[in-house]
């Protein structure tokens, strides 16, 4: 196969992986993503071996056998290592701590954080506007912004927002602040997430 065609086929493969990720994230079924490195390693291995095979075939057969053995061993080893490390973390919720997020700063355009939250615990989210025109805040579950769990706007009139939330599943959550001002009108904030009941 010509290289440009092989590149195009590999690009299609990568596009389908990206589409698969977006679909699984949209359906909130991200467990299958643990197998992603294995699929990618197989794809990359096939891609590289298809490119390098004609060059290897020009060499004496011993070198060809040796290099194929080394490449295969390296790929199998990487699959085993990645598979073991990813699958061993499946179904395990580690401790999130009592203050998963204590975050202060200035937002110019937008800013985000991804604190890890544990299941079976209720968390209190405190959003403070310290100075500036204000910001719009959004809390969603990683990795996909649907559904929006909490949405509010803090401005000069309302400079405090409090929200309690008990996650249905452990993992990282997405907190995003979007500044309401323009240019140099940055907003100063202080955001905390603390566990209040378990």
């Amino acid at each position: 196969m010509e290289l440009w065609k092989l590149n195009t086929v590999f690009k299609l493969f990568l596009l389908s992986i990206a589409a698969f990720f977006l679909l699984s994230a949209f359906l909130h079924y991200t467990l299958v993503l643990h197998y992603l490195p294995v699929i990618l390693v197989i794809g990359v291995a096939l891609y590289i071996s298809t490119i390098t095979n004609p060059a290897l075939r020009k060499r004496p057969s011993r070198i060809y056998i040796l290099s194929t053995t080394i490449i295969s061993t390296a790929l199998v080893a990487s699959i085993v290592i990645v598979g073991y490390s990813t699958l061993s973390t499946t179904n395990s919720c580690h401790q999130a701590g009592t203050v998963p997020l204590d975050w202060a700063g200035n937002v110019i355009i937008d800013s985000e954080r991804h604190p890890y939250l544990d299941t079976g615990t209720t968390y209190q989210f405190n959003f403070n506007l310290l100075s500036g025109p204000g910001y719009r805040l959004r809390v969603t579950q990683d990795p996909f912004s649907t559904p929006v769990l909490h949405l509010a706007t803090l401005s000069g009139l309302t400079n405090l927002d409090q929200w309690n939330f008990a996650p249905a599943s452990c993992g990282t959550y997405w907190i995003e602040l979007l500044n309401l001002g323009f240019g140099t009108q940055q907003s100063s904030y202080h955001v905390t997430v603390t566990s209040i009941a378990s």
């Binding site: 290289l3 440009w4 065609k5 590149n7 195009t8 590999f10 690009k11 299609l12 990568l14 596009l15 992986i17 990206a18 589409a19 990720f21 977006l22 994230a25 949209f26 991200t30 993503l33 643990h34 197998y35 992603l36 490195p37 990618l40 390693v41 794809g43 990359v44 891609y47 590289i48 490119i51 990813t86 937008d110 991804h114 990683d142 990795p143 996909f144 912004s145 649907t146 929006v148 993992g171 990282t172």
Partner: protein, 148 residues
Amino acid sequence: MSDSNISQHGKSADSLQSTSSRTVRFYDALSVAFFIAAAASLSFLSFYLITDFVVIALGAMDIGTILNAVSRMIALRGVTGEVRAKKARSTVRLFHLISYACYALAVVVFTVAVINLATDFGVMGLELTGCGTILRAVSRSIQLESLT
């Protein structure tokens, strides 16, 4: 035309051919590197479910696509006659197929971006539209060159 002129013309044609084949090889190697970088970025998704890795991967894929398409265009210039027309047709067909895939995915991603005001998805949509547009432009160039 004198013998020396013919010989000089032949030499410059050979030099041009060798330069273009070197460029094709270089672009091919670079495109392979960028596609592998894109695969590496996508593999991070299993460890960190952050859409930024898709954005990075699509960016790397875009660079790989440009290099791959341009190298194919340069390579086709070295072919003449019926073979060139045949190769150009198959290249254009495949590039069109990939551009449709890029546009289709871009529509979905843009919809999500608009509904959820998700800027990451807007960037992904633009990158995918870029990928489709580059391939359409290169295909058009190949088509026009094969007419002359």
